[in-house]
Amino acid sequence: MDRRLMAEAHRARLAFVATVCLGVFSGILIIGQSYLLSQIIASAFLEQAVLSQLGPLLIILLAIILLRGITQSVATWTAAEVAIRIKHDLRKELIEHIVKLGPAFTQQERSGELTITATDGIETLDGFFRDYLPALFTSLLVPLAILFVALSLDLLTFIVLLLTGPLIIIFMVLIGMVAAAYSNTRYAQLSQMSAHFLDVMQGLLTLKLFNRSKAQIETIRRITDHYRESTMNVLRVAFLSAFMLEFMATISVAVVAVEIGLRLLNGGIEFQQALFLLVIAPEFYLPLRQLGARFHTGRDSAAAADRIYAILNTPLPQQSGDQSIHDIQRIEFAHVSHAYADGNRPALDDVSFTIERGEHVAIVGATGSGKSTIINLLLGFIQPTEGQIRIHDGDNVHELHALDIVTWRQQMAWVPQRSYLFNKTIADNICIGNPDATAEQIAQAAESAAAHTFIQEFPHGYQTLVDENGARLSGGQAQRIVLARMFLRNVPIYIFDEATSSLDRENEALVQKNLRQHTQGSIVINVAHRLNTITQADKILVLDGGRIIESGTHNDLIQAQGAYFHLLQAYGETTHDGA
């Protein structure tokens, strides 16, 4: 039983209370119906009553039947309402929380898994709120009432029900545990088997290249057969407890029937009462068994809830400040360190540097040397674990975390290494965050990014939808669209992370030229693998293991014959200066 989920019922209190009340009412109707039914049959059978004599009773029975239908219908509707409202609110909160947690969080997680938690995961809770939770409140009431009826009519029936009822519950719990163990193993095996199948399918090309694809048929057959055998072994045991449950429920009805039959023979009980007991005995077990069947819904929901609450309970990063900024003069990193939560060594270790207005700074270094960490800090995706990032605004100095993050980000244009194209049109992708841009401005930006020509060649031009299926964009084309996004912005700070790595030489040269023009007078921070794009930087920072090991201009660093010089040699690009 999941208390966190129980508590969510408050979000739809009225509908939930209605569901429970209707459930209780429905139980009363069942007992009433059984009583009337036995009454009618007894009259017709023993007193040879004809239809006209039974009229009033039949009409009441019919009314109860109609009322049961309506009650059931309304209860289904209110139960659904509870589930729908809670799911809606949880989805909303979860999505907002994920966005607030930001890239620092989402980049550690698998995006597919996050999406599934917010959709399928929350959908799993449906059964919990719709079926399981109301059943928890109502499933014991009807059996208790029936037990009370039995006590007043026939002691042995009462004893049989009293003994088997708890046994059923015990078996239910037992089944719950066995079934959980079973479904865990089955689930593990099934997902293992599916994973293998998926692995083969994803590697099909590789298998083909090595002429091994046909051999997989036998492997798939073998693994699936093995799965069947081992699962059936577990199932035999799991079904055995279900067998016991069924057995108890039906055999007790049989025992009750035979017992009251024998008592009837001796006139120890009235026929009407006996029939009433027989009709109602199965109703005693039904809610208990239904609760048992829903038990696993509760378990599945608890597993999904674990994941949902794990995300919702992830503390939000530091709240944004409220200082706005007007006139950026300088960015200053003072002894900044950053360690990711799971990292054993800091990604950035006591780094200090300044960037003045109008300066072009390049950051170089191997993968994992801390370049992206600097960018993520600047964008406010992560915060320094030590040290300060200061922004000099006119005569004022602000710490970065004191700034209003939204206005701060408005000061920047960022072209990441792997930027994301949204499932929208090319035009919408270019004017992200700038919805008022005119078609001319968009085309001009695309022109600067050497993208206009190829975009126009698409049948739908700028209205071409960017999705996996649509325009087959090459890596270089995608990058040029993102570059156009940047050209649409006029800001004091530009950050490029391998911004032209997928372009061919010709386009790269063109874009670089436009870039220089566009970013004139602004701060430019350029992270690059290909060193030919950075030789003209005012300052080059060479990173290694999270530390700045060298800094200076291209010529300074060449003369120093240090790390930068060796990097250049390894890249084999020393002869391509200023290409």
């Binding site: 039974l54 024998l262 023979l265």
Partner: protein, 545 residues
């Protein structure tokens, strides 16, 4: 549901091999419900007869019968579960093998046009969905039919009109309720599914593009779009819930009305001692009717899944094996391409208009061009994944089109940007290249690929698991394992297609060096846009696309 009959036929063929088991499961299923009907009917008769107080003899075997039916229901249910699950698993095995056999010849050419996510959904989710075909779709209506007939038969022994009323209610409930379910599903459910899919893709966009939308100040806009979709999803769910509640109410109503009507009809027409019997019998028999609504829901799911699967595998392979294959082994690996023209589709631009390449064995060629300029198409053509109409390609004396596909794929060793490592040990991942290879040969190839020392540094060495549950290998390490593979395969012609594109320059350089060293004496076709390689390594020809 019209238009699905072909799919339906195709689906039923899949069940054919399990005919006997299915019959057994159906029999057991019917006996289970039969037992509970018999239990309730015999009990009711027993009590009624006992009420006449004619002595124990008047009850005959009924008390024994009641106990027997009380036990037999549980036993039959247990056996039925075992048999039907066995059928389900056997069906799943057959489905996978059947699916794989059909899809293997289609890869990779016919996969174009399917997004990777969609493809995997068809391959895994849809195929798995079909395993429920028997339990959830085929069995319920058959069992319902048999039970209905049984009730009609037994009741008609008492009175034909009572039987008629009972059967009429069972048939009405058995058709109306599933139809309603199907109608709700196809009208409202489909919209809900569509809205959910929209929410899904918007979420993927929002999460994967989060850095971009935050940096460009678009996040709050995206949140409001998401919330609009969320609300519209809830509205759809409400619509559906209203209809579902109608459905639940109706099913309770029909069951009890059936009981009521049977009773009213029976009073005065049949002996009083049987009144309770028919009333309780018809209630018990409805156990066979209730699952039909669920079956209707699943029918739709199964058909959709089946259509998606058939859509994929009903394609005809683009290239068949040559009718008269060359049987002599290739002796000279001189590759020559003359006047090749190629496009993927008639509506698409030409990738090559007049491409020629003459490459004596052991020669090295670099093909330069931006991504999208058609370098990768050469791999598709040379490995016979796609056909070409114009031009001539030959390996030594043999025309490419005359070679058996296995022979073609033995000839070429391909390295691409993305290396697929299977979810098994490093050793087995290398052994993919040559099933018969000894451990020594595997180690030798890893040494040549300069990855042996790294592998030995892992805790389990060559037995280290890679992939989801194992260690994560870096891009460079993966490429070296790929190199070990083509070394172990001993392919005479290597095609290196942008294999270093995802690596940082230092690693790219190291991998390239290792490959060029290991390639001694082999033909190399290098495709790259990384011009620095051209200066660092020796090439006999350089071609710009």
């Amino acid at each position: 549901m019209m238009g699905h009959s072909a799919t339906w036929r195709q689906l039923l063929t899949l069940l054919r091999p399990f005919g006997r088991r299915i019959l057994l499961a159906l029999l057991l299923s019917t006996l289970t419900i039969g037992s509970s009907v018999a239990l309730m009917m015999t009990s009711a008769w027993l009590i009624s007869t006992a009420a006449l107080q004619l002595g124990i003899v008047s009850l005959g075997v009924a008390p024994t019968g009641v106990r027997l039916f009380g036990i037999s229901r549980a036993v039959f249910r247990y056996l039925e579960r075992l048999v039907s699950h066995d059928v389900t698993f056997r069906l799943l095995a057959r489905l996978r093998v059947w699916f794989y056999e059909r899809i293997e010849p289609l890869s990779p050419a016919q996969f174009q046009g399917f997004t990777s996510g969609d493809l995997m959904a068809r391959v895994v989710t849809d195929v798995e969905e079909l395993q429920n075909l028997y339990i959830r779709v085929v069995a319920p209506p058959i069992v319902a039919l048999v039970v209905t007939l049984g009730i009609g038969l037994v009741f008609s022994l008492l009175d034909p009109l009572v039987a008629l009323v009972a059967v009429a209610f069972m048939v009405t409930a058995g058709t109306l309720l599933p139809y309603l379910t199907w109608w709700i599903g196809s009208r409202i459910g489909r919209h809900r599914v569509a809205v959910r899919a929209t929410l899904n893709s918007q979420l993927v966009d929002a999460i994967q593009g989060l850095p971009d939308s935050l940096a460009y100040g678009d996040a709050s806009n995206q949140l409001s779009v998401l919330e609009a979709t969320n609300t519209s999803l809830s509205q759809r769910e409400r619509q559906e819930a209203r209809l579902e509640s109608l459905h639940t109410g109706l099913s309770v109503l029909l069951l009890n009305l059936a009981m009521f009507s049977v009773l009213v009809t029976a009073i005065g027409r049949i002996e009083g001692v049987f009144l309770a019997t028919v009333a309780m019998g018809v209630v018990a028999a409805f156990e066979a009717i209730t699952p039909l609504a669920l079956a209707a829901q699943h029918l739709d799911k199964e058909l959709t899944a089946a259509n998606r699967v058939f859509e994929l595998i009903d394609n005809v392979p683009i290239i068949e094996e040559p009718a008269a294959p060359m049987t002599e082994p290739i002796v000279d690996y001189h590759l020559s391409i003359k006047n090749l023209a190629f496009r993927y589709d008639e509506n698409e631009p030409l990738i090559y208009s007049d491409f020629s390449l003459d490459l004596p064995h052991g020669n090295r060629v670099a093909v330069i061009g931006e991504s999208g300029s058609g370098k990768s198409s050469l791999v598709n053509i040379l490995l016979r994944f796609w056909d070409y109409d114009t031009g001539h390609i030959a390996i030594g004396a043999a025309g490419l089109k005359a070679l058996p596909h296995e022979e073609v794929r033995r000839t070429f060793g391909v390295m691409t940007q993305r290396v697929h490592l299977f979810n098994t040990t490093i050793r087995e991942n290398i052994r993919i290249a040559n099933k018969q290879a000894s451990d020594e040969a595997i180690i030798a190839s890893a040494q040549l690929a300069q990855v042996h020392d790294f592998i030995m540094s892992l805790p389990d060495g060559y037995d280290t698991y890679v992939g989801e549950n194992g260690v994560a290998l870096s891009g460079g390490e993966r490429q070296r394992i790929a190199l070990s593979r083509i070394l172990l395969k001993d392919a005479p012609i290597w095609i290196l297609d942008e294999m270093t594109a995802n690596l940082d320059p230092l690693t790219a350089n190291d991998v390239m060096k290792a490959v060029m060293q290991a390639a001694e004496g082999r033909t190399i076709i290098l495709m790259t846009h990384h011009l620095a390689f051209l200066e660092k390594f020796q090439f006999d020809q350089i071609i710009t696309l």
